[in-house]
């Protein structure tokens, strides 16, 4: 029995690719395997058509897990400065990310004392500091209210560009539909569809319907 089976998809340069699926579909497992944090029985990752062994993946992709609380005893600014330094990012970049994610009121607060929303933003800030051209984020909007979700979407959109792609694992289909350029539909460890909403509608034989209906039709 396999957690994931016969998964193949492509992430394009500069796009936001949504990994869509219900809880238990295998999204987190897939992201951990891609990042090299979880060994796979078989399979390969290619970057610009060149095979990318596990040990070299951290040079081109960075994975931001959902359920992490790095350094709970340290202040938010300590964690941000640490990762900015480790990633070789200048202060101007760090300062810009702090501004984009509205983290300034809590920089002196211990990570353990942050609200869920701020903790999520802190993690996103770490993801934004990562210099890798592909950043994979597990449930970026978990813990955020509607307004915060919109703001973070705007930040992610500005982050994505010619030199950076995003792979986001999202279980809220409405959020995914609003943000992502293309989708990989995952259910029970298998890919049920890949493409933009139009492609998926065509594949599902649906008319002008939303992602939810398409997903239900394909899974």
């Amino acid at each position: 029995m396999f957690a994931l089976n016969d998964i193949t998809f492509t992430a394009r340069r500069g796009e936001i690719l949504g990994l869509i699926g219900p809880n238990g579909a295998g999204k987190t497992t897939l992201l951990e395997i891609l990042s090299g944090l979880l060994p796979a029985d078989r399979g390969s990752v290619r970057w610009d058509e060149i095979p990318l062994p596990t040990g070299r993946r951290k040079h081109v992709m960075f994975y931001l897990p959902e359920a992490v609380e790095p350094y709970p005893d340290r202040r938010a600014i300590d964690v941000l400065v640490l990762f900015a330094e480790l990633f070789g990012q200048p202060d101007s970049r760090l300062s810009g990310i702090i501004e984009q994610l509205a983290l300034s009121p809590v920089l002196q607060t211990r990570v353990a004392a942050l609200s869920k929303g701020y903790r999520r933003r802190l993690l996103l800030a770490l993801g934004l500091l990562a210099p890798q051209p592909l950043v994979m984020i597990d449930e970026p909007f978990d813990g955020l209210d509607l307004k915060q979700t919109r703001e973070v979407m705007a930040v992610l959109r500005t982050l994505c560009g010619a030199d950076r792609s995003l792979l986001l694992s999202i279980h809220q289909l409405s959020d995914a539909e609003r943000l992502c350029d293309r989708f990989v539909l995952l259910s029970a460890g298998s890919v049920r569809g890949e493409g933009n909403l139009e492609d998926l509608r065509a594949r599902a034989g649906q008319g002008h319907v939303g992602l939810e209906e398409v997903f239900l039709a394909l899974t």
Binding site: L37, P70, S95, A102, S104
Partner: protein, 471 residues
């Protein structure tokens, strides 16, 4: 001066990680508790030791023979450094475990493993930070040397340095065990239990092996307490030193292998086994040419220079069959006064212990108590357990003469009745206050701005201006 604004880290990732580890340790409470306890324990041990040493020194002023038996190593430094042993056994593991387990529990290691550096860099930073912690924890012990010296006490620098080295090696292996426990266990509490089970297990092993021979005795020779005991007795052994360093290094490497999420369990087990085999081979290689040095000033662990030089010239195997029970006081005496010295002096030396009982109380054999010496096809017997009789017998078997080498000066002994008032003020008052002050300073440091934070960020925070409406 403007803050640096460069795309390159000011230091390599190693120094950034080291700084992180160091700040993590200082931000925690364990190190300060450790320092306070070490200060009090060292103070108590030193006061007790000096008082007892002073009492033993009273008759020595009239009796030179008594004075010769008074060594500051045994009387003052070994008992005082015993406080460090307790700290290494019961407190240091918690700091070591925290540095691995906290990141595993919070998921921080998933981020660290994706950093643009080797896993070995991450682990090395942790080890170096812990080494710094250990060195700080030894400061109270080092002040003992200064106090003893300032009160007129004699310091045998070689034997004290050797003792210090023994505790360092002990701590290094304890850190290795703690790392492996933290890498295996799901929680810090479980890791602490595993580590204590290992360190206390060595005590049990030593207790069980006392007076035993065979496998149990061989195993107990590898225990941590045995490792330390040699250094406490003033013996520097290259095998012990390299063995401990190799054991510590391989445990830390195995911990690194185990915390790596990127490989399968089978791969981890295989790599760990290979590392262990490689370490065992390395240890065996180190054991080929052992170096043993008696660092004590009274030369208690070695024969006189003339005998040592003569025995070093034996080029064939020397075997001794000891017909004594392991718990027989004669055997213990023989082991301490002759056999242990022969092991360090003769290149190819073996001992076989032979008895029907453990204590020797009910041995009926006529040959019980007879030691048989075999060298180059010849053999001789003796019931003596003193070097004065045994060495000539060996020389006779080998057909050699005792070399003419100048003997060392007789050990004078260093009796001293020293006061402990200053030490008590230092260890129970000033030093704890200094540690508390350092604790407060470290706390302030932890809440100060990180060194790299730019003025732009600081001014943002001071004004508390929300962005996009804040949260």
């Amino acid at each position: 001066m403007p803050s640096p604004d460069t795309a390159q880290p000011r230091h390599g990732p190693f120094f950034t990680l080291l700084n992180k580890e160091w700040r993590d340790i200082l931000a925690g409470q364990t190190i300060w508790v450790l320092l306070l306890l070490v200060s009090l324990l060292v103070g108590y041990s030193y006061t007790q030791a000096v008082t007892l040493y002073g009492e033993a020194s009273k008759p020595a002023q009239q009796l030179p023979e008594v004075a010769r038996s008074l060594s500051p190593l045994d009387g003052v430094f070994v008992p005082t450094f015993g406080a460090l042993y307790l700290a290494n056994t019961f407190l240091l593991p918690f700091i070591a475990i925290r540095s691995i387990a906290s990141e595993r529990q919070t998921g921080g290691h998933k981020l660290l493993l994706q950093l643009p550096c080797w896993l070995s860099t991450i682990v090395t930073a942790k080890v170096v930070a812990l080494l710094a912690v250990w060195l700080i924890a030894t400061l109270p012990c080092l002040t003992v040397v200064a106090l003893w010296s300032s009160s007129g006490g004699h310091v045998g620098w070689a034997e004290v340095a050797n003792l210090f080295l023994g505790h360092l090696l002990y701590a290094a292996v304890v850190v290795g065990i703690s790392f492996v426990a933290a890498a295996v266990a799901e929680s810090s509490a479980t890791a602490a239990i595993l580590t204590l089970a290992a360190t206390l297990g060595f005590w049990v092993l030593d207790f069980a092996a006392a007076g035993e021979g065979g496998l149990l005795k061989s195993l107990s020779n590898l225990s941590l307490t045995t490792l330390l005991r040699g250094f406490e007795q003033g013996v520097f052994s290259s095998i012990t030193m390299f063995g401990a360093l190799i054991a510590s290094a391989v445990l830390i490497i195995i911990a690194g292998i185990l915390i790596d999420l990127r490989v399968t369990l089978a791969h981890k087990l295989l790599t760990s086994a290979l590392a262990a085999v490689f370490a065992a081979g390395l240890a065996a290689g180190v054991a080929i040419r052992p170096l043993n040095v008696d660092t004590t000033e009274d030369g208690r662990n070695s024969f006189p220079p003339a005998d040592a030089a003569t025995l070093a010239g034996l080029d064939k195997p020397l075997h001794v069959l000891v017909r004594l029970a392991p718990e027989d006081p004669r055997y213990i005496d023989f082991e301490r006064k002759v056999l242990s010295k022969l092991r360090r002096s003769v290149r190819d030396f073996a001992v076989t212990l032979q008895s029907d009982t453990r204590s020797g109380l009910f041995e009926n054999s006529d040959t019980y108590g007879v030691m048989v010496y075999r060298y180059d096809g010849k053999q001789a017997e003796s019931r003596s357990t003193g070097e004065g009789e045994v060495l000539p017998l060996i020389y006779g078997l080998a057909g050699i003469e005792r070399k003419a080498v100048a003997d060392r000066d007789p050990y004078p002994g260093y009796p001293l009745q020293a006061r402990t008032d200053l030490a008590q003020v230092w260890f129970y008052g000033l030093l704890p206050l200094l540690i508390l002050a350092a604790w407060v300073l470290a706390h302030r440091q932890a809440t100060a701005w990180p060194p790299r934070t730019s003025q732009a960020i600081r001014s943002r925070i001071r004004t508390r201006r929300p962005f996009h409406g804040g949260m």
